[in-house]
């Protein structure tokens, strides 16, 4: 646990707080879109969590994951800092999980900040005197969980891709293309399902099914990442 906390401390210092003002460009831009622009455009409908709103809430944190996880793994190898870390007493698992937790936490945190900001702005500029929350509430909770799981999926896939990439740029390019492939595969898979099965599901049930699929993928990819992230293999590469 102490090793994990050390790695999380290091990752947050290295990735998030020590790049000066440049570190804030991406989060400010993305929170600006997800927490300000889109909610103000949609008005009260934003709080009804339409499929388009949910897609935006899930999609935007992916940008963050793509940007950071490649840097955290392939970047460390490119800058030759990983080798020194591996020569220390810290465990492979702590190194990997520290990176994944900080990256996922950062992306998910950005989505949460955007949701809160959107809620406040919509109520301030489009409210009718009553304070309206995201509704239905169970769907809102499902969106939060799904967002966390999607961030974990991006991070785990990012680890696997970064381990095979020579540079950060290569990792980010593959992750960018991979994300598009994942979305199209999802759409195709949805179309392949029987129409009467889909129509029999409620919006909330469909979300639950989606959560289950992403959770299974998370377990598989995170497991593969843990197996792949081994000292001897990393030193050889």
């Amino acid at each position: 646990m102490s090793d994990l906390l050390t790695m999380m401390w290091k990752e947050s210092k290295d990735l998030l707080f020590q790049r000066g003002w440049k570190a804030w460009i991406l989060p400010v831009f993305l929170v600006g879109i997800l927490g300000v622009f889109l909610p103000l455009q949609a008005g009260l409908q934003w709080l009804e969590l339409s499929p388009i709103a949910i897609f935006a809430i899930l999609w935007i944190p992916f940008f963050v994951i793509i940007s950071f996880i490649g840097d955290a793994i392939a970047g460390e190898r490119e800058r030759h800092t990983l080798e020194t870390l591996l020569a220390s007493r810290i465990s492979d698992r702590a190194i990997l999980l520290g990176k994944v937790i900080v990256t996922v936490g950062y992306a998910w945190g950005m989505a949460l900040v955007s949701l809160v900001l959107g809620l406040v702005l919509v109520n301030l500029f489009h409210g009718h005197g009553n304070w309206t929350f995201y509704h239905p509430f169970d769907l809102f909770l499902e969106v939060l969980v799904l967002n966390l799981l999607c961030c974990t999926l991006g991070a785990s896939a990012g680890v696997l891709i970064s381990l095979q990439s020579a540079t950060v740029r290569q990792a980010q390019q593959i992750l960018g293309v991979g994300t598009l492939v994942l979305i199209f595969a999802g759409v195709l898979a949805l179309q392949a399902l029987p129409a009467d099965f889909i129509s029999s599901l409620s919006y909330s049930q469909a979300m639950f099914l989606f959560i289950a699929v992403v959770a299974v993928l998370d377990v598989i990819l995170l497991g593969l990442s843990l197996v792949s992230f081994k000292r001897s293999r990393l030193i050889m590469s």
């Binding site: 090793d3 050390t6 401390w9 020590q18 030759h80 990983l82 220390s88 007493r89 465990s91 001897s232």
Partner: protein, 311 residues
């Protein structure tokens, strides 16, 4: 004699068909700077990786600090420090955060970390810039910081992989001085990979020479010079002739002799005396003004070993 801190027995490591380390056997005593010399690609870095348990040997075994490299690699890494081929510093973090990170990794309490950061950075003259991002530092400063990081948690053994490689002579000498004073103060055993023979000569109590993964020689620099390099003599005078030079070359104690601007340079077999040769020269009519003797440098020993191995 105390137990060796590193014991290597018939260690081999292959990468595909390439044998990076070939039947290496070696013992490193505790409390010294041990130089591991060899040209680029000799297998020096691979040896460090094997000793840290980062790579598994193909054959043979090694123990470091009494721990087996195959089964107790984590214990080896807990009790040793390493500066590998690259400094491996986080450029986007400050110097004190870089050291603090490794203090946390080695589970040092916060107060001990802060005291150690101050102690090492003051000793190396880096304290004033402790809060600057490492990316703004010169290469020499970064390398000093990396040495400090390797020693940060008071390990009894430190691996340094070519710490002065690629430095200009002035920067290399400065880093070497800092390294020597730090090592003496901390009382650690150092396993120093280098191809810089001046560095080895200045810092190391014992050296091993390796080429293409094979151990060629091991011993104290003086011992190797005596055993392998022979000794030199320089005779200054007048009246040297080609015939005299030929006669000299025929003497059993002479390895090589050449004339350079009235300076006769003779390479002697080890322990050979110069006086019979001086008498020979005087009887042949040479006027001898000065005779200087000296031992072969470590560089000459190294080159001799490389030459012999190539043959």
């Amino acid at each position: 004699m105390s137990e060796p801190i590193i014991r290597i027995e018939h260690l081999s490591r292959s990468f595909g068909t390439v044998k990076a380390i070939d039947d290496l056997s070696l013992e490193v005593p505790a409390g010294i700077v041990f130089g591991f010399l060899g040209p680029n690609g000799a297998g020096k870095s691979t040896t460090i990786h094997l000793l840290l348990g980062l790579l598994e040997p193909t054959q043979g075994q090694a123990s470091v600090l009494g721990f087996d490299t195959r089964t107790q690699a984590e214990a080896i890494r807990v009790h040793s420090g390493a500066l590998l081929e690259f400094a491996g510093l986080y450029d986007r973090m400050s110097a004190q955060d870089n050291l603090d990170l490794y203090g946390r990794i080695y589970r040092m309490p916060a107060s001990a970390r802060q005291a150690r950061i101050k102690e090492l950075l003051i000793h190396l003259g880096l304290w004033e810039r402790r809060r600057d991002l490492v990316s703004t530092w010169s290469r020499g400063m970064k390398q000093k910081l990396a040495v400090a990081r390797a020693l940060f948690h008071h390990p009894p053994l430190v691996f340094l992989d070519e710490p002065t490689a690629g430095f200009d002579p002035v920067a290399a000498a400065a880093l070497r001085d800092d390294l020597a004073s730090l090592v003496a103060r901390e009382g650690v055993t150092v396993f120093l990979n280098t191809h810089d023979l001046t560095e080895a000569e200045k810092l190391c109590a014992q050296v091993a020479v390796i080429r293409q993964g094979k151990l060629l020689a091991v011993g104290a620099p003086d011992e190797l010079r005596g055993r392998l390099g022979g000794s030199h003599a320089e005779i200054v005078g007048d009246g040297f002739t080609e015939q005299m030079l030929t006669t000299l070359r025929e003497q059993p104690e002479v390895i090589h002799a050449e004339l350079l601007n009235n300076h006769l340079l003779i390479e002697l077999r080890s322990e050979s005396k110069i006086s019979p040769l001086v008498s020979l020269l005087v009887h042949a009519g040479t006027s001898v003004e000065e005779v200087r003797r000296g031992k072969a440098s470590l560089e000459e020993v190294f080159l001799t070993l490389m030459e012999e191995e190539s043959k």
